[in-house]
C-alpha cells in the first residue's frame, strides 16, 4: 500500500518526569488527509506525546519531523506557526475574556486603528457557526457558558488558522451525541480537504466512527500502529491494557431491574428544591441502595440539581428530608455531615487540590469531616489510601506524588477515592467517567453497582446515556433547568427511548408516552 509522506513524525521520542518515564522511545506518524486516533489507558502518555509534539514539553531524546524537516518547537506558538493547531485536554481558554476574544486571541483583525473589534467578532461568529454555535454571542463572557460549549469554543479557536494538522486531545469528553455529530462532520470535512487530524478519545464508538488509523500506547511505550478496519474492539482493548480482559465482557451486564419498595422512608427526599436561575423547584426521592441516573442534554441542569442536593449551592426554595428528618443543606460541610458526598464534574477547578499529594487528596474530605483539631491517625490514612489506590489502580502508585502530576484519568480515580473514603450514605457522581479509560470505566461502574448493593444511595450523572441506562434503577430526566420526567428502568428503556422523551417533552408537562417505557412518574413543578 503506497502511503503519502507523513506530515508529522515523531521518532523514538522519550520524556521523563521526575520519577516517571512518561514516554519511552515512542514513534508516531500522522499522514495528511487521515484521522489518526491515539489510544491508551489513563496515564499511557497520550497527552504527553501531544505536548511534546507541540513544543509544550521538550523531548529528552528522539526527534520530531514536520513536513520532512527536523524541528524543535520552543512553545505552542512556534508549533502553530509551523501549521499545527492543538486543542489540549483540559480546556485552555481565558474565562475573563469574551467568547469571541477567546476564539480570536492572537489572530484579531487589525487595521490602521489597531484591532478592529467589529470585524474580529464577525470572524469569531463565523468560526463558531461552523461548529453549530452561530447563536452564541461572541461578546458574551466565556464564563457564562458551560464547559461543553467552552470545549467547542476551544475547537473553533483551533480552526482560525490555516493549519495542516489539527490535534484534538479528548475533545468529546464533555460533549453529547448531538455535538459529537457536529464535530465529526467538521472533522470529516477537514480530513477530506487534506488536513491531518490527531484525535484522542476513550469512547470506543467514537474512535471507530471517525478514525482511519490507530496508534496504541501503553505505559509510555509504543505498542503499535494499526488501520482501524484491521483491529476489532477486543483486540484494541487488549492491546491497550496488555492482556485479555475478561471482565470487560461483563460490561453492560449489570443493568438494574429489580423493583423496589417505594413506600419506605427515602434516604433523601426533596420537595420543591430549587434555586433561581439554576434549577426550577423539583421533587426528588432517593432510596438507600438505589442508583438514580440524571439524564439530560448538556446544560439541562443536572449539575445544578446535584449541587443543590449536596449543599454546594444554597437552595432558595424547598425542603429536604434525610431519612425523614428535615435538614437544611447550606454548605458542602452540612451535606457532608449528613453523609452526602459530591464528586464534581470539573475536576481541575472544583476537584483536585493540585499541590497536595495523592494521599492528602484522598483523605481531605475525611479530615474535613472530623474537623481540624483531630487529625486522622496515620495508620488509618495509610489504610484508606492503600485501599482506594489499589481499588482503582491509580498510576503511578506513589501516594506522595502531587496530584497535579497525575494524568487526568488518574486524578479522577483519586477523587473517587476521596469521596468513598468518607463512607457516604448518598454519593453524587457528576461525570465520574469523563476522561477515564475503558478498563477503569468498567471498574467504576462495577464499584457503583457494588456500593448500591451495599445500601448506599447513588446519583449517577453522565453524558453517556448508555452508561446511565445501564447502571441506573431510576432515571430522572432534566431539560432546560427543570425536571421533566422520571423513568423506572426496565426492559425497553434504552438510550434512544430516553432521548425521545427529552425530545418530546415540553416544559411543565409530564412525559406522556414512549414506546415501551415501563412506568413513568411524571413530575410537574
Amino acid at each position: 500500500m503506497s502511503e503519502p509522506l507523513a506530515i508529522v513524525e515523531v521518532r523514538n521520542a522519550s520524556i521523563s518526569f521526575p520519577g516517571v518515564k512518561a514516554l519511552d522511545d515512542v514513534s508516531f506518524r500522522l499522514l495528511p488527509g487521515e484521522v489518526h486516533t491515539l489510544m491508551g489507558e489513563n496515564g499511557a502518555g497520550k497527552s504527553t506525546l501531544i505536548k511534546a509534539l507541540t513544543g509544550v514539553y521538550q523531548i529528552d531524546s528522539g526527534e520530531i519531523v514536520v513536513a520532512g524537516q527536523v524541528r524543535h518547537f520552543a512553545g505552542t506558538a512556534s508549533a502553530q506557526a509551523a501549521g499545527i493547531s492543538t486543542v489540549y485536554q483540559e480546556v485552555n481558554l481565558c474565562t475573563n475574556l469574551t467568547i469571541g476574544e477567546n476564539v480570536m486571541l492572537g489572530h484579531e483583525v487589525r487595521d490602521w486603528r489597531g484591532i478592529n473589534w467589529r470585524k474580529t467578532h464577525a470572524r469569531a461568529r463565523d468560526g463558531l457557526a461552523r461548529l453549530g454555535l452561530g447563536d452564541l454571542d461572541p461578546r458574551a463572557p466565556l464564563s457564562s457558558i458551560s464547559i461543553a460549549l467552552q470545549q467547542l469554543v476551544a475547537i473553533s479557536r483551533a480552526m482560525v488558522t490555516n493549519s495542516k494538522v489539527l490535534i484534538l486531545d479528548e475533545p468529546t469528553s464533555s460533549l453529547d451525541a448531538n455535538e459529537v455529530e457536529v464535530l465529526f462532520g467538521v472533522i470529516r470535512r477537514l480530513r477530506d480537504q487534506g488536513v491531518a487530524i490527531l484525535f484522542v478519545s476513550h469512547f470506543l464508538d467514537q474512535v471507530y466512527a471517525i478514525s482511519d488509523r490507530i496508534t496504541v500506547l501503553r505505559n509510555g511505550t509504543f505498542v503499535g500502529e494499526y488501520l482501524t478496519r484491521d483491529l476489532d474492539r477486543t483486540q484494541l482493548i487488549s492491546k491497550m491494557i496488555g492482556k485479555d480482559f475478561e471482565a470487560l465482557r461483563a460490561l453492560g451486564s449489570n443493568r438494574q431491574t429489580q423493583q423496589r419498595d417505594r413506600t419506605a422512608t427515602p434516604l433523601f427526599a426533596a420537595e420543591n428544591l430549587g434555586r433561581k436561575g439554576a434549577i426550577a423547584p423539583t421533587d426528588l426521592d432517593i432510596h438507600a441502595g438505589e442508583v438514580v441516573g440524571f439524564a439530560g442534554l448538556l446544560g439541562a441542569g443536572r449539575t445544578e440539581l446535584a449541587r443543590l442536593i449536596a449543599g454546594a449551592d444554597r437552595a432558595d426554595s424547598g425542603t429536604v428530608r434525610i431519612r425523614g428528618e428535615k435538614v437544611s443543606l447550606t454548605s458542602p460541610v452540612a451535606g457532608l455531615s449528613q453523609g452526602i458526598a459530591y464528586s464534581t464534574e470539573s475536576r481541575r477547578d472544583d476537584g483536585i487540590v493540585g499541590d497536595l499529594s495523592v494521599r492528602e487528596n484522598i483523605m481531605l474530605a475525611v479530615q474535613a469531616r472530623r474537623g481540624w483539631l483531630r487529625r486522622v491517625p496515620a495508620r488509618e490514612v495509610d489504610q484508606l489510601v492503600k485501599t482506594y489506590m489499589e481499588r482503582f489502580s491509580v498510576r503511578p502508585n506513589d501516594p506522595d506524588r502531587p496530584i497535579r502530576l497525575l494524568s487526568g484519568g488518574n486524578q479522577q480515580k483519586v477523587l473517587l477515592g476521596r469521596w468513598l473514603a468518607t463512607d457516604p450514605d448518598l454519593l453524587l457522581l457528576d461525570e465520574p467517567t469523563r476522561g477515564i479509560d475503558v478498563g477503569a470505566k468498567a471498574d467504576i461502574q462495577e464499584t457503583v453497582a457494588e456500593l448500591a448493593e451495599g445500601g448506599m444511595g447513588v446519583v449517577f450523572i453522565s453524558s453517556e446515556l448508555e452508561e446511565v441506562v445501564r447502571l441506573s434503577e431510576r432515571i430522572v430526566i432534566l431539560k432546560d433547568h427543570e425536571k421533566v420526567g422520571e423513568v423506572v428502568n426496565g426492559p425497553g428503556v434504552t438510550a434512544e427511548s430516553i432521548v425521545s422523551i427529552i425530545a418530546t417533552e415540553t416544559e411543565g408537562h409530564a412525559a406522556t408516552s414512549t414506546e415501551a417505557a415501563a412506568r413513568h412518574e411524571g413530575e410537574a413543578s
Binding site: 520524556i15 521523563s16 518526569f17 521526575p18 505536548k51 511534546a52 509544550v56 514539553y57 521538550q58 523531548i59 529528552d60 520552543a74 512553545g75 489540549y88 485536554q89 483540559e90 485552555n92 449536596a310 454546594a312 454548605s331 458542602p332 460541610v333 457532608l336 455531615s337 459530591y342 464534581t344 481541575r348 477547578d349 472544583d350 476537584g351 483536585i352 487540590v353 493540585g354 499541590d355 497536595l356 492528602e360 481531605l364 474530605a365 479530615q367 474535613a368 469531616r369 472530623r370 474537623g371 481540624w372 483539631l373 483531630r374 487529625r375 486522622v376 502531587p402 496530584i403 497535579r404 502530576l405 487526568g408 486524578q411 476521596r418
Partner: protein
C-alpha cells in the same frame, strides 16, 4: 549525593548558605566576629551572633504569621503597622502604670497590646473572609489605619516608659540566649505543633491551593481565613513588643516601618510561594534569621547608609535566583527535563520553582 540533591532542592538551604556566607564575610573582616564573651559588668553573654538572634526575634514573629496568610493565598501588609500598635499600647500602658507592680504592669501591657492587635486582625479577617475583599488592598488599608491608630494612642509622641521586666524581654537572657529569641522560638515551635499535629496546616494549604475544591471537600474556608489574619496580627504585636522593649520607646513612625517587606521576603526565601499553598515554618524562620543577619552585616561592614538598600537588593536577587530551577540546573548541570506548563493541569496557580517543577527550556524569545 542524594541527600545533597534534596538539600539543594530545599529552598531554605540557600538561606542557610546565605547566612553562612554573610557570617564568613564578617569573620574575614574581623576574625573575632563570631566570638562570644561574658560581659564583666552585666554578667551577660555578648557577641555579634547573639545580637543577630535578638534582632531576629521580631522578624521571626511577623514572618511566622505572614507564612500562614501567604499559604492561604493572601498577603498581610499591615504587620509592620501592627507592630507599632502593639508597641504603642505597651508603652502607653507602662508609662501610665508607672508606679504599679512591674510584673503586673507588664502583663497588663502585653494583654492590652495583644487584645487590640487581635481586634484589628479580626477586622482584616472579616473583610477578607466574609466580605471577600482582596487581601492586598484590605491589609494595605489596615497598614495605613493601624499606623494612624498607633499615633492616636500615643498622641503622636514617641512614648517611652520604664519597666524592668518588660525591658528584659529584649535585653535579658535565658541560658545565654536573648529572652526575646527564646520566646520567639518557643512560639514558633508551639505554632508549628498546632499546625502539623492538627489538620490546620493541611487545611490552610488546601485552601491556598484550590479554594473551590477545598470548600466542596468540606473545609470551611471562612474561619480558617479569619483565623490566619488574627494570628498574623497577634504575632505582629508580639514582634512589636520585642521591638519596643529594646529601648523602651515606641517610635510611632518608625517601629515596624516597612517590616512587612522583611517578613514577606523571609517567607519567600524560606520557600513558601506567594501564590499560596505549601508552607514551611522552618523556612520562614531561617528566612527571618537571614534578614536579621543581613541587616547586621550591613552595619558591621559599615556599608554606607546610602548603599544599604542596593546591597540588600543584590543579596535578595542572588538568593531568589539560586532558588529558581533554571539557575539550579545551570549550576548543577543537571539533565534538563521537560517543563510543566505552568499551572497545568493542577489549577490556575503558577507552580513555584521550589515545588519541583521541571525547568523550562523555552528559548529566550
Amino acid at each position: 549525593m542524594n541527600r545533597l540533591k534534596i538539600a539543594l532542592r530545599t529552598p531554605w538551604f540557600w538561606a542557610i548558605v546565605g547566612i553562612a556566607l554573610l557570617l564568613t564575610i564578617n569573620t574575614l573582616k574581623d576574625p573575632g566576629y563570631l566570638a562570644l564573651s561574658v560581659n564583666p559588668t552585666t554578667g551577660l553573654l555578648t557577641g555579634n551572633l547573639l545580637d543577630i538572634l535578638r534582632i531576629s526575634a521580631p522578624i521571626i514573629m511577623i514572618a511566622l504569621g505572614m507564612t500562614f496568610v501567604i499559604a492561604t493565598g493572601g498577603i498581610d501588609l499591615s504587620v509592620g503597622s501592627m507592630m507599632a500598635v502593639g508597641g504603642a499600647v505597651a508603652m502607653e500602658t507602662l508609662s501610665s502604670l508607672d508606679g504599679a507592680a512591674p510584673v503586673g504592669a507588664m502583663l497588663t501591657a502585653i494583654g492590652l497590646a495583644l487584645a487590640l492587635a487581635i481586634v484589628l486582625g479580626a477586622i482584616n479577617g472579616f473583610l477578607v473572609s466574609v466580605i471577600g475583599l482582596q487581601p492586598f488592598i484590605t491589609t494595605l488599608i489596615m497598614m495605613l489605619a493601624a499606623r494612624g491608630i498607633a499615633r492616636v494612642i500615643t498622641g503622636g509622641q514617641n512614648t517611652n516608659a520604664t519597666n524592668e521586666p518588660f525591658r528584659l524581654l529584649a535585653n535579658g537572657q535565658i541560658f545565654g540566649l536573648p529572652t526575646s529569641f527564646v520566646l520567639a522560638i518557643a512560639i514558633v515551635v508551639l505554632v508549628a505543633l498546632v499546625m502539623r499535629r492538627t489538620a490546620l496546616g493541611l487545611m490552610i494549604e488546601s485552601i491556598g491551593i484550590n479554594p473551590h475544591a477545598s470548600r466542596l471537600a468540606g473545609i470551611r474556608p471562612r474561619p480558617i481565613l479569619f483565623g490566619v489574619y488574627v494570628l498574623a496580627a497577634a504575632l505582629a504585636a508580639v514582634g512589636g513588643l520585642f521591638s519596643v522593649s529594646e529601648v523602651m520607646t515606641v517610635s510611632v513612625g518608625g517601629t515596624g516601618n516597612l517590616m512587612e517587606l522583611d517578613a514577606i521576603l523571609a517567607v519567600v526565601i524560606g520557600g513558601t510561594s506567594l501564590a499560596g499553598g505549601k508552607f514551611s515554618i522552618v523556612g520562614s524562620t531561617v528566612g527571618a534569621l537571614l534578614i536579621a543577619t543581613l541587616n547586621k552585616t550591613v552595619l558591621f561592614l559599615g556599608i554606607p547608609a546610602a548603599a544599604t538598600p542596593a546591597f540588600k537588593a543584590v543579596v535578595i536577587i542572588v538568593l531568589v535566583l539560586l532558588q529558581s530551577e533554571r539557575v539550579r540546573s545551570w549550576v548543577l548541570g543537571r539533565k534538563r527535563t521537560p517543563r510543566t506548563p505552568t499551572g497545568d493541569p493542577g489549577g490556575p496557580t503558577r507552580p513555584a520553582a521550589e515545588q519541583g517543577t521541571p525547568v523550562s527550556k523555552e528559548a529566550v524569545a
